[in-house]
């Protein structure tokens, strides 16, 4: 018999009697708190920077004054074509190694952990938010939700090949528990909270 057959046979013989009930998830996620304030506090706590903006012009100005425009900036948002390139979605992902800043938009953000949900259809390339030196993610304030409970309700049956929650910049504490930002991925994360 193949290993698959063997394993499944052993499992069937050894698994306990069926507990058919799955717990009711609707009992969870009822916590009440100020979603925007919590989002900002949690994000700062894990090394990210929340920046409230009214429109894309403010985002452009912020990036102009905080990043070196001589370097390679990429985005998936046509609104930012003035400062970042849009023409990289079909290139070999390895060639993104010199990207200074990636700017993308998130589907939504989660206040309890500041995570931002992004999927490959809005990322341009899967590696884009990881390979850049810095990362900026735009999210509408109305798209902030309280907990992961609501997050998965919102994701529902969403179709994607790849999706991830991004919470803060890449980090490590593997050397004597001292927190260092920028392990392999972005060294910094700006979250533009758009009206």
């Amino acid at each position: 018999m193949s290993s698959k057959g063997e394993i499944l046979k052993r499992i069937k013989a050894n698994q306990p009697e069926l507990v058919s009930e799955l717990p009711d998830l609707n009992l969870l996620g009822s916590e009440q708190f100020d979603v925007l304030e919590t989002y900002k506090t949690v994000l700062k706590g894990i090394g990210g920077d929340p920046v409230e903006v009214a429109n894309y012009d403010e985002i452009i100005n912020y990036i102009k004054s905080n990043y070196n425009l001589e370097k390679r900036l990429i985005t998936t948002l046509p609104e930012l074509s003035e400062i970042a390139s849009l023409d990289w979605k079909a290139v070999d992902p390895h060639s993104l190694q010199d990207v200074e800043l990636t700017v993308v938009k998130a589907h939504f953000g989660v206040a309890e952990n500041s995570g931002l949900w992004v999927t490959d259809d809005i990322l341009g390339q899967r590696v884009a938010p990881f390979i850049a030196q810095y990362l900026a993610i735009i999210v509408h304030k109305k798209d902030l939700i309280p907990t992961m409970q609501q997050a998965y309700q919102r994701i529902g049956n969403m179709e994607y090949g790849f999706g991830t929650f991004i919470a803060g910049p890449s980090k490590t504490a593997d050397i004597e528990q001292s927190l260092v930002l920028g392990a392999h991925g972005a060294r910094g994360l700006i979250v533009f909270l758009l009206d």
Binding site: Q15, P16, V19, M148, F162, T164, H184
Partner: protein, 466 residues
Amino acid sequence: MSSEKIIQHSEAATKFNKDVERVNWHDETLWFVRAKRDKSAHQIADWELLRETASQIKFNVLSNIHDYLVEFEANAQRNGIIVHWAADAKEHNEIVHSIMAKHDVKQMVKSKSMLTEECHLNDYLAEKGIEVIDSDLGEYIVQLRKEPPSHIVLPAIHLKKEDVSETFHEHLGTEKGNFNPQYLTESARHSLRNTFLTRKVALTGVNFAVAETGEFVVCTNEGNADMGAHLADVHIACMGFEKLIPKREHLGVFLRLLARSATGQPITTFSSHFKKPRDGKEMHIVIVDNGRSTQLGREDFRNSLKCIRCGACMNTCPVYRRSGGHSYHNAVAGPIGSILAPNLDMSKNADLPFASTLCGSCTNVCPVKIDIHDQLYKWRQVLVKEGHTPTAKTVAMKTMATVLANPTVFNIAGKSGRFVMKNIPGMVSNKMNKWYDQREMPDVPEQSFREWYKKNSRESKEKGNE
């Protein structure tokens, strides 16, 4: 099983305890992580409900895992993922190797996977001439030092920055004597970036696999799993079959618990959901048994398969903190490792369930409510019955059994014990008494509890009669 000599936990712990300062530091560092876990847990009003929910979901999974696995495989295949099944470590390693061979690739970048540690994949691939680089910083450090990880979440927790500095100086040519973690991390970043950019095959672990959708989730803080997987042509993900959960919505429960229990973070930086390979690229999943189906059949121990590998039970364990992960001679150390290891090999790991004070702290922090200390206690009984106890403990336990079974002997033993401790302390605090190692013995009470109770109950009865 290999016949190499295993150094028993108590012996290894004794060695670890020689450097008092380092032991204290190790103890405090882990306690610091445990304290962060508490703070983080207390911020969630639903915490206990979350634990209970997670535990119930896992019960459901264990009782229905056959069907969930079948469902998962079908959905993963529909997503374009190639699914493999491995009965044991050997088959797991062979499958991984065969994928490498098929693509004629001799190098791999790996992100943290305790399963591949359990299967000794690196050694196996090295023998086949394949170079593996571990990309999680902690794993990378221990790999350069040719050591196994000492903790499932914090692989290099036993090392000081001076140690890392020495290691990097030797292997990466960093400045001698530069202990700055920022500087050291930056050096590793440069070296590993080159690895990510040049590897055609990336291997990752799996934190959760979803039956309903055929996707799997990998959680990291560094983003190393993503850097590897999104740049390689082939992504191999290896999972023990117990990583399965029924539906996507259940991820909400587990992702809320995992990082908070592990390090006190509200969530890991990246919680990546892999559902389909990139166009023209390959994604493989290797589903591994390696003793898990046997554990599933052991009623007293099957709950250990609910483990989500957060490491909280290690961080809180007074024995782990003062004996170090390597003393457990098993890929998974600490309380949960001590339950999993005897399942794999009873005679080799008979010492581990005894490496616990049974204080119950592990059980109290476990996010999926595994009855860890009860299972450790049960393993002791199984191991004693099967004749597997470590010698030092057998003598003590046999004596203990006689004493406890006989009230008169117990009484006399207690009296003489107090007499001996008071008048001839050397007799207790000698090398034969394992309990005395590393401990100050308490002052001896004048009375035993029995004597106190007898007297006081008599007194209170007399009072009541007045």
